[in-house]
């Protein structure tokens, strides 16, 4: 005989899960009891939302679905923001929640919450398991759904009696058959032909690369395609890292907070090839105007994204991996006209400008720009949300590594737990967090997770005693009335670090900051650097 809880653990083992992030509670105790005997590493976070963010960071760096676990009621509802963040950014997660006994469902007993109902708009799919026998199929389907098609979070809610009940035997299915879920990944040959004809006919083609290129796991092939065709590339926030920042045909991030040259290229292009991107309002402020100047080819695995924000002449539904292979075959030795290449090269000179310094402060954009050279080439930079996110997105010189941030939901407090997940996925890589003093305080409780697991994560706090991004918004749109954006009563972050047993330092100039960082970035211990930043430093 085998209990539901033991089946849950065996399902995770069968899926090759090595690490789960979670927080226990009464209704998930049967599972935790069986997990105790398993080889699977459980990382105890300090709040459930961070379990979801950590699983997200893990998923993005490992290419496998991240797993997070919480108990019923408040444990489950705390997960929601993390699940919603992963959903908007198309990150594969499997979230497991305990639930009250099935015979008590709907009676508002202690720690009962309708979590499948509450998560409905934020999950790719969800299960409320009603029979112990269903667990293997549900887990198999959940991992399949999370990691195929357009990736995303799947929730499995399991009442306590289902976990406790024992059944005869356990067998993990080797395939799934979900009648309503057959994502089209292939790519339509005729559409690809049309796309290549359009590329050949265009004089100024441009690629807009999004997170889909990264989640498809084809970065090297994508780079090769861009290299051989010499088609210039700009990226969305989620697409940062598809090209090395220094590539001569790469013009940075587009959008309202992006690079002027990237937006200029988008405006001047006569053909735009959108690869795995939604083109949300922060990427293209007036999407309906975009296709007035140019022809749009949109490649996406999710047919619902094509035509949603931008009018598209040539839609191609499919996985970037397959479509890129087809494009490659069809396009032969095509190269972009020289004139367009020269124009891009000229703009490239304007991509990175050295921002003015303020005496007695760290200039955050310059610090981020120099950060890359201190790190190994595969370093992972995790940015939070606010001005720090824009400073990082626009100035970090990415090479072979990753840039993690929440592009869609913009969830403050994402960076520290996501870095925890990233470090578990890639323990040998440098993992650096850049956050603000606002976002740091949204998840500083996770310093305990970092300290407790001895994770060599380096945290750079850009401290301006402000909620900088909102304050900037107030300067532009609300007559400079700084309503609730001045941080008062903040603790001494160095003492906080000390209390967690983490080494730390403070810097008041870039020279000082870089000197400190050079000494610690490659160490095997965590570190916190507090950078005092001039409060009026702009985002861009």
């Amino acid at each position: 005989m085998i209990s539901g809880a033991e089946i849950m653990v065996k399902c995770l083992e069968a899926e090759g899960v090595k690490v789960v992030f979670g927080y226990p509670g009464a209704t998930i105790c049967p599972f935790y009891d069986k997990l105790y005997d398993s080889e699977i590493k459980h990382v105890l976070v300090r709040q459930e939302q961070n379990a979801a963010h950590a699983a997200s960071g893990f998923a993005r760096c490992s290419g496998r679905p991240g797993v997070c676990v919480a108990t019923s009621g408040p444990g489950a509802t705390n997960l929601i923001t993390g699940i919603a963040t992963a959903y908007t950014d198309s990150i594969p997660l499997v979230a497991i929640t305990g639930q009250v006994r099935s015979d008590l469902l709907g009676r508002d007993v202690f720690q009962e919450a309708d979590i499948t109902g509450a998560c409905e708009p934020f999950v790719k799919h969800s299960y409320l398991v009603s029979r112990t026998e269903d667990l293997p199929r549900v887990f198999k389907e959940a991992f399949h759904i999370a990691s195929t098609g357009r990736k995303g979070p799947v929730l499995i809610d399991i009442p306590m009696d289902i976990q406790l009940r024992e059944i005869e035997s356990f067998e993990y299915p080797d395939s799934v058959n979900i009648i309503g879920y057959k994502p089209n990944v292939k790519g339509h040959a005729v559409q690809v032909k049309r796309a290549v004809e359009a590329i050949r006919a265009s004089r100024r083609p441009l690629i807009v690369a999004g997170g889909g290129v990264l989640s498809s796991g084809i970065k090297p092939k994508f780079r090769k395609f861009a290299d051989t065709t010499r088609i210039p590339v700009i990226s969305t926030m989620m697409g940062i890292g598809v090209m090395p920042s220094e590539h001569d045909m790469y013009l940075g991030m587009l959008g309202t907070h992006g690079k002027a040259v990237a937006n200029r290229a988008l405006y001047e292009a006569d053909l735009v090839i959108v690869c795995g991107a939604r083109l949300g309002d922060r990427a293209v402020a007036a999407p309906h105007q975009m296709s007035e100047n140019n022809t749009v080819i949109h490649i996406d695995i999710d047919p619902a994204e094509i035509g949603k924000n931008v009018k598209t002449e040539i839609p191609i539904v499919g996985d970037m991996k397959n479509v890129l292979a087809m494009l490659n075959e069809e396009i032969g030795d095509y190269q972009v006209p020289n004139q367009w290449q020269e124009a891009v090269k000229a703009w490239k000179k304007d991509l990175y400008r050295v921002p003015p310094k303020f005496e007695g402060f760290v200039e955050p954009r310059s610090l981020v720009a120099n950060l890359s050279s201190m790190l190994r080439s595969k370093a992972i930079l995790v940015a939070d949300v606010g001005q720090n996110q824009i400073w990082c997105a626009n100035n970090f010189r990415i090479r072979e590594g990753r840039f993690l941030t929440t592009g869609g939901m913009g969830t403050m407090g994402y960076s520290i737990p996501a870095a925890v997940g990233a470090k578990f996925a890639r323990p040998t890589r440098d993992v650096v967090v850049v956050c603000g003093d606002g976002s740091f305080q949204m998840s500083l409780n996770e310093l305990a997770t970092i300290a407790g697991n001895g994770l060599a994560i380096k945290i750079i706090i850009m401290r301006n005693h402000r909620l900088g991004m909102v304050r900037e918004l107030q300067d532009f749109n609300y007559k400079g009335r700084h309503s609730a954006t001045i941080l008062k009563g903040d603790p001494d972050f160095l003492k906080i670090a000390e209390a967690y047993g983490i080494d730390s330092a403070e810097a008041n100039s870039n020279e000082e900051a870089e000197e400190i960082l050079k000494g610690v970035v490659k160490s095997d211990k965590p570190f916190i650097l507090v950078c005092n930043v001039y409060p009026d430093t702009p985002s861009i």
């Binding site: 499948t116 109902g117 409905e120 708009p121 790719k124 799919h125 969800s126 409320l128 759904i145 979900i178 009648i179 309503g180 879920y181 999710d302 047919p303 619902a304 035509g307 949603k308």
Partner: protein, 163 residues
């Protein structure tokens, strides 16, 4: 523009809320919705009538297709499908008006299914526009209550929606 969607779904808990959520999340109202099991007990059919422009309908169709338990979505072509709605109307009916109301029902081929001293209940099964005509005809007598099932629809000829 009014449109009719015929949706095949897996017959399981929570599907209806997933589907109606796609509408409510976008602030769209559903004019009518009818659900019933098909010849395959594992599959239910949902018929939705709603209003929206071409962009909205296309988006909804695509979003519906993304819902995992949704098997198939078809927008029925105007004029190429048969639709029916069952309606029960309780009409105020003093003895003096009874003959008149019975005559009206007869003209429309509706049935009187219940009667009381001062009211009658009319049953009618027809397409949406004829149902509305009957309501208009009965309005002057005073309608006390209306219960409608929502529209169900099927393609004309051999065309259809199947798994």
């Amino acid at each position: 523009m009014q449109y009719t969607l015929s949706i095949l779904v897996e017959n399981q808990a929570g599907v209806l809320s997933k589907i109606s959520g796609l509408f409510s999340r976008r602030g769209f109202n559903i004019d009518s919705l009818a659900v019933g099991v098909t010849n395959d007990p594992r599959v239910s059919r949902i018929t939705i009538v709603a209003n929206g422009d071409e962009y909205v309908i296309e988006q909804l169709e695509k979003q519906l297709n993304k819902v995992i338990p949704v098997i198939k979505v078809k927008r029925l072509t105007e004029g190429a499908f048969i639709s029916r709605e069952l309606i029960l109307i309780k009409v105020h009916c003093p003895a003096a008006k009874r003959a008149e109301i019975i005559k009206t029902a007869e003209i429309m081929q509706a049935k009187i299914v219940d009667a009381a001293p001062n009211c009658v209940t009319v049953e009618y099964c027809e397409c949406n526009s004829r149902v509305n005509t009957l309501i208009d005809l009965l309005k002057p007598y005073g309608i006390r209550e209306i219960v409608r099932t929502g529209t169900i629809a099927i393609d004309r000829g051999s065309a259809g929606v199947s798994v």
